[in-house]
Amino acid sequence: MSEPVRFVSRGEVVTVESDIPHTMTVLEYLRLRLRRTGSKEGCAEGDCGACTVVVAEAGPDGKLRHRAVNSCILFVHQLDGKALFTVDDLADGDTLHPVQQAMVDSHGSQCGFCTPGFVMALFGYFKTHESADSNSLKDALAGNLCRCTGYRPILDAGQKMFEHGRDDRFAAQEAAVLAQLKSLPRSRMLRHSTPQGDFLSPRNIDELAETLATLPAGESWILAGGTDVGLWVTKQQRTPRSIVYVGRVAELQRITDHGDSIEIGAGVTYTDAFSSIEALHPAFARMMRRLGSLQVRNSGTIGGNIGNGSPIGDSMPALIALGATLKLRSKAGSRVMPLEDFFLAYRKTALAPGEFIESVTVQKPKANSRFGVYKLSKRFDQDISAVLAALHVVLENGVVQTARIAYGGMAGTPARARQTEAALTGRRFIPDEIEPAIAALAADYTPMSDMRASASYRLLAAQNLLRKFCVEVSSGEKISVEAAE
């Protein structure tokens, strides 16, 4: 029996029609069913931001937590129990929202097609910031492509929108929306069935394990943020028998401090994991700010990034270099394994049928450990790495005690550089001493040439990144062209 999916929009509870297939995206639903055509499709893969909407739910502080996300790769059923804001909702009759007015006053639109996405990205920023600063504004807009303006007027609008304070009509309606959201809880697991397939949304980890145990292998997808799975639908026209959504599994949303380590639930988004990771490993956090875009980090999870087995996930080398472990779970029980043992081959992982990732555990840094993460890509923001270096050394009196080095982009899976590690161990960590280790990278990896980089660049850059890390550690000075914050 199908149960209605409900979300809040324009002050009303919307009940999603029972015939809406489990693979319909929010963007399709808005444009085709509701005929709200303000949100645009620019790429259908979450890379251009023209479809940006804001999804809100009650945060830990009891207030609405607003998140800009890409509606082109978000399934309608994921909205269950949340509030949705789109560009069509912002203006009050003929009166534009301060974000919209600022865009008009700054001449922030030319062809206008990306504009609804920018408006919503700015709206998300407006709802989550007291004022604008240039750097965080660029972070917030990195997922929105504009081909006309060159961005200057849009960045100006981001400053201008705060000129009359932060109050808007949505602030006045917040209590009402929260009350509506409170009226939407489920007494049992969401199961929405159509002839095309089922959307299942377990509420706790036992329900999830039970659900996965009953589904035939290979015919169901585990869905977390959808930043990868969404493309299987929009780009490959695939239709699984069932989608099991883990975004409502309470245990997977937790971050637990175990004293010498933190355990991050597989359903925690990059955005939510950011501050915990930043506190432990700032270099990792700096790289995370360049992982996808804000929209992607607001949806995407570390668990999903690991689980899809992609060779180009940016977190993996960093987590491997930190010696992270995974907790895998199924109805039969749970097991723990080092992350680096999880990847068997390209897009192939150690997950057994019915098994899922429960959490990833990251050790806290030791006093004498040094950790660097470097991402190289053609574009600084929102680009997939050509090379990602995660370099972790433990020093004693300047001598390397242990080294864990992992690179992305250098092999079919994120991989350790064992020979390099061996060549570093016992050496003083200064540029003059590490040339053998740098040379050893050529033995550890045989990178390939593709659209992101040539093999020769990959190897040279990988070597230079180790050199850079060593110079930075030994001199205490950062070598970077990045803007000062």
Partner: protein, 772 residues
Amino acid sequence: MTAVIHKPVKHDSAHKHVAGTARYIDDLPEPEGLLHAALHLSDRTHARILKVDVSAAQAVPGVVAVITVADVPGNPDIAPVKGPEPVLADGIVEFHGQPVVAIAAIDLNTARRAARLVKVEYEDLPAVLSIAEAIEKQSFLLPPLGLKRGDAAAAIAKAPHRLQGELNLGGQDHFYLEGQVSLAEPREDGDVIVRCSTQHPTEVQKLIARVLGTAMNSVTVECRRMGGGFGGKETQAAQFACLAALLARRTGRPVKLRLDRDEDMMITGKRHDFLSRYSVGFDDDGRILGYEAVLAGRGGWTADLTGAVVDRAVFHADSSYWLPDVTLTGLCCKTNTVSNTAFRGFGGPQGMATTEYVIDEIARYLKRDPLEIRRANLYGQTTNNVTPYFQTIRDNILPELLDELLASSDYARRRQEIDAYNAQSLYVKKGLALTPVKFGISFTTTFLNQAGALVLVYEDGTVQLNHGGTEMGQGLYIKVAQVVAEVFGIGLDQIRITATRTDKVPNTSATAASAGADLNGKAAETAALDIRGRLAEVAAPILGVPADQVVFANGTAQGGGKSIPFADLAHKAWMGRVQLSASGFYATPDINFDRASGKGTPFYYFAYGVAATEVLVDCLTGEYRFTRADLLHDCGSSLNPAIDLGQVEGGYIQGLGWLTMEELWWDDKGRLRTHAPSTYNIPTARDLPEDFRVKLVSGRANPANTVFRSKAVGEPPFMLAISAWLALKDAVIAAAGTSKVHLDAPATPERVLLAIEAARRQARTPESMAAK
């Protein structure tokens, strides 16, 4: 409000853009019975089609029609200039991604799923994949263009110094945010109306008529706005409009064809990549004495606009410099890749970039600041001012612009600071470059320089405005509305801008070549002046002054100390049986070009600009960041400084993308592997130079008689970004410790790092050590 000309008026759709209420084709209410189309694309680079099996696709529930080229009732050739260019592959596929089959179904997902089920059997044929290979095999689409003055080879041979080399300049995807889309609706008598996101409604109309086997008068094409064009919807929209029309004809139902982003990037043409080979002779001061360059553009599998693009590259290979003895040759290379097309600048950027690079090379050879060499070669204002195509440049303001920007950008002091910084910084280096822009305005195919407009004044005093130009975000509609409002002395709120339609203004040219406002503004001005003349006759007896003394301002007609509201005057004219509508027409005067002799005056005037860009490079990784850019650009008496500023800034950033991070990458089988924003990077907000100072030249009306003495602005500022690329080269030289570097475009971090490494390695070879 009146006096709107030259004012920073907002884009007419700005409030709709931000509210999501501006309608693009895919947003229009869907007509009853609408079908959605999808395409099956070739997965071979060059192959003979042996068999097309559509049975599985046909059998999918919801599929209504499946067509191949055999189902085209008319002539399937949709080439804009020189064919053949079949609307669906005809017996042979010539690139990976060429549409072979079109399908219409009751919804988009059904159509796309069915398209995957088409099975085509092929027999592979040898493919030409690179420009160099095309040159070697003499694989050309069209004959070359040659410009020649004097004896360049002899001048080079006897010059004190000589350099030669070659340079690769990459292509660029338009990445308009709104992909290609058309909606065709059948009407009675076999007519069809097609809403299409196109820069060229007339050509779309003509080609639909051709494939349907009907006449132009049974086809209407409409475009209210595009979500970006940049040249990518000049010829490239026609194929999808034709396919939608063919499927509509076949099914008797409305059909919408909207491409997925990946398909769009695989099927549609892009900016031509170029291979340039040059030879230059110069004196001790870097003055060019002789210059030979061969500019070879990748046209792809069919001609499209390649002839005109390569011509414009050759026309702009002088950049801003006097070339006494010169031979320039343009080659139109045929390869088994997507057919390249118009893109902002239209070959001009590739021609200019080549010669700016050569100038930089001369400076490095002579160990001088490239700026000195630029100055030494700059066109004169009264002498040394004839182009290689024998057009005399009469409006050169570059010397003054250069001085102004040198002062405002503090170039000399920064140059010294940068050199000092580089001397002490080991891993991070700075670079700075200043480059000029001179861009010729007019279609070089002379007959295209024409436009029409239709102005309707209603008896309540409101106005409907229509013209042949299309709106793609560049602000053409608001600029032309400003022109008409100015003529009538009324406010913009009295003017309704209407969608471009082939049944309102016929036989229009593409909105391209930066000429939209020049051409359509003049045509609309002519129409408005026509009506205003008649209104003045009506007003004259009321005001008691001769008609030629009636002034239209502030929403009134004035004279003799009296005034009459414009609305009242319109009503009186109507009552007096005076015509309140007019069509206007404009043809650019004084231009001509004879391709055979390579001589003429192809351009009505030139637009100018200067830019200085500074960059910071990480010498360990090749990563970089642009820290400052100073732009000074000439819009004549700008029709709308806010709109024009947007064109200058946006053009520069788009140019920066072309020369730095935007890389098209084909694999060894000729498959484009960068066909989505996940693999193809256009600039983001972070890539804007941190300190970005952009100024329009003030107080310089266009000496040519253009609409309100403005200048075209769409393309010229794109080339200001050449300064960013050469700033990178400057930093690479600082990093390599030798001036012998080579930096192709796009100068990705990879190319920057490998350029540094290659130069260092070269400098360490025994030969070069010995030379020292």
